[in-house]
């Protein structure tokens, strides 16, 4: 029989109806916080301007000509009569909290708060030394010591912020994270969005290990990424909500900075940034970390082997375990849900497993296959 093609076929229609009925919850408070700044301006948006008719055409033409002339004379900087450096912003600028701009090669010390056109906010924790590598579409810092905490407005498919540290590049898709150099290891805590840790690749897209929201990663001789929402939120969100420091952090740096906070050592003219000295910097407090993947593997494998009999037949599942700092584990999630006898059996076997102790609790998801009784 010929089908009436003006409506979907019943089978397709059935699925369409299910999809139509599906609602997706959106955290509007979070969207608004990302979209609007504290003054109600749209982050990353150009302020609309009013132009009309012929005046608009003339205005646009004059503006274009002026911009072209400025670009010809000095694409990035111009020096006025007083000898002070004036900055012509021809691309998104990275500025300090008081509005003073930074340029490539500037070294920034702990206590500074930086921002870029309302799209990125960066806090350098006390004891931090970083060099500005790029202030363009991708704000790029090189971290020599300490930690930076950043709130980055995501750009779909982009890497608006990156930090090179200890031979690795941490590329940020957004939105809130902390990057620290601790005892030669790179620690990345992400409270919102995600970051990628990989090898530096010039201006290209960074490829490597993804640290998603609610995870803390450690990258050194060995690498691990552990889910720990509480710790990630503590490290990132608390630092971002902290008030700016009243005075610069004391850093033994030659020449000693004498300007008021934030402290910046300008880049030398016509020369690449000097290699970083080794200042006597008190290392930032090490974050409390949960168990590493290496520590988890053995007890989880033992647990998976022991629960095989908990299901009457072959059955696949993903279990979520919450492992407290003292090593006691609790079953907190199942997908799909288990019936009561199976759950009791799994909990019984879990109670017999000993996990190592850690500084913080760890949440881990584990795919298991019940082999049946």
């Amino acid at each position: 029989m010929e089908r009436d093609e003006s409506a979907p076929a019943p089978a397709l229609r059935a699925v369409i109806d299910e999809v139509r009925a599906e609602e997706h919850d959106v955290d509007w408070a979070r969207v608004e916080a990302k979209l609007f700044d504290e003054h109600g301006n749209v982050r990353g948006g150009r302020p609309p301007t009013v132009r009309s008719g012929r005046a608009a055409a003339i205005g646009a033409g004059l503006a274009l000509a002026a911009a072209f002339a400025i670009a010809l004379i000095s694409p990035t900087r111009a020096v006025d009569d007083s000898g002070k450096t004036a900055v012509t912003v021809t691309r998104p600028a990275l500025v300090q909290d008081d509005g003073r701009p930074l340029q490539v090669g500037d070294r920034v010390l702990g206590g500074a708060w930086l921002k870029s056109s309302g799209r990125i906010g960066i806090r350098l924790e006390p004891g931090t030394i970083a060099t500005v590598v790029d202030t363009g579409e991708r704000v790029h810092l090189a971290l020599e010591s300490g930690a930076v905490v950043a709130d980055v407005v995501p750009v779909p498919g982009g890497e608006p912020f990156a930090v090179d540290v200890a031979g690795k590049r941490v590329a940020v898709h957004g939105t809130r994270l902390r990057i620290a150099l601790v005892n030669g290891n790179v620690e990345v805590a992400v409270s919102e969005g995600s970051a990628v840790v990989g090898a530096p690749r010039g201006k290209g897209r960074t490829e490597g290990t993804i640290v998603p929201a609610g995870n803390v990663g450690s990258f050194g001789a060995t690498s691990s990424v552990v889910a720990n929402q509480e710790l990630a939120s503590h490290l990132v969100d608390d630092a971002l909500t902290a008030k700016p420091q009243p005075a610069p952090t004391t850093v033994a740096l030659s020449p000693a900075p004498t300007t008021t906070m934030p402290v910046i050592v300008p880049a030398p003219k016509h020369a690449p940034p000097a290699p970083a000295p080794h200042p006597e910097v008190a290392p930032p407090p090490a974050p409390k970390l949960g168990l590493t993947a290496d520590q988890l593997n053995a007890p989880l494998a033992s647990f998976a082997a022991k629960i095989g009999h908990c299901a009457p037949s072959v059955f696949e599942n993903t279990l979520t375990l919450d492992i407290a700092a003292d090593g006691k584990a609790e079953l907190v999630g199942e997908d799909p849900g288990l019936d009561s006898p199976m759950r009791a059996c799994v909990r019984g076997e879990l109670a017999r497993i000993t996990f190592p102790t850690a500084e913080a609790s760890t949440t881990v998801k584990r795919y298991v296959k019940f082999t049946g009784k």
């Binding site: 029989m1 010929e2 089908r3 009436d4 093609e5 003006s6 409506a7 979907p8 076929a9 019943p10 089978a11 397709l12 059935a14 699925v15 299910e18 999809v19 139509r20 599906e22 997706h24 959106v26 955290d27 509007w28 969207v31 608004e32 990302k34 979209l35 003054h39 109600g40 749209v42 982050r43 948006g45 150009r46 609309p48 301007t49 009013v50 132009r51 995501p154 750009v155 779909p156 498919g157 957004g174 939105t175 995600s194 897209r205 490829e207 290990t209 993804i210 998603p212 929201a213 609610g214 990424v225 889910a227 993903t318 979520t320 999630g333 199942e334 997908d335 799909p336 849900g337 998801k365």
Partner: protein
Amino acid sequence: MSVSTAALHPTLPSWLDPRAATNLDRVATSDGDAIRPSHERLTPEPTDDSAALVARARDGDRGAFRKLFERHRGDVARLVYRMVGPRAEIEDLIQEVFVQVHRSLRDFRGEARFSTWLHRVTVNVVLMHRRAEKSRPVLAEEMESGTVEDLTTTMPDVEVERRKRITAFFALIAEIADKKRVVFVLHDLEGKAPSEIAEIVEAPILTVRTRLFYARRELEEKMKAHPLLASIVEREGGFAGVAQAARRESK
């Protein structure tokens, strides 16, 4: 000389004939829920009010832009969700849409309804995101991270099955070409009329219908081959015909 599309393309159904200019719209009216369900209609477009808000926002009135955001954010969120499925980056995409709207307000000349223009911006942002995403390798950790919330939730079996079907269907939608997918989402999921879709995608109405036809056919083929969705095809009697289903319902 005028030749109907059906004559040029024997495989195309008669409703693609350009002479049947409002064929789908008539079906929508007579079939009600099939094409444009009443509960799915967008917020009634207060044209004058939105136009005034747009004008004020263009003048730099932050309050006006926030009102536009509050009024239309639900529509944007729903369209983004239906275009990308249950993904972690939906909120980022919504934010990006409104950033683009703010940047482009001066380009909105009021020739189309604001909601139509907003849908066009939304579609473009999502497509740009997908293109950028395609150029980036998807790592195992990233694939797993998208299911974090689901894994910690215990749901009844029926609900689990429904979620799995929806996720599977979104995966099928993602497999079809951008142009066809956009038309399918706007028409069959959003309930928009072909004339408005034509404005959104800036294509002739006939092209919209052609894309819809092929999108549905492609999805039907994929459903037949999908382990989770094939049972629905079986239950509904395959894709043999709407008329058969109608007869079953009447019985």
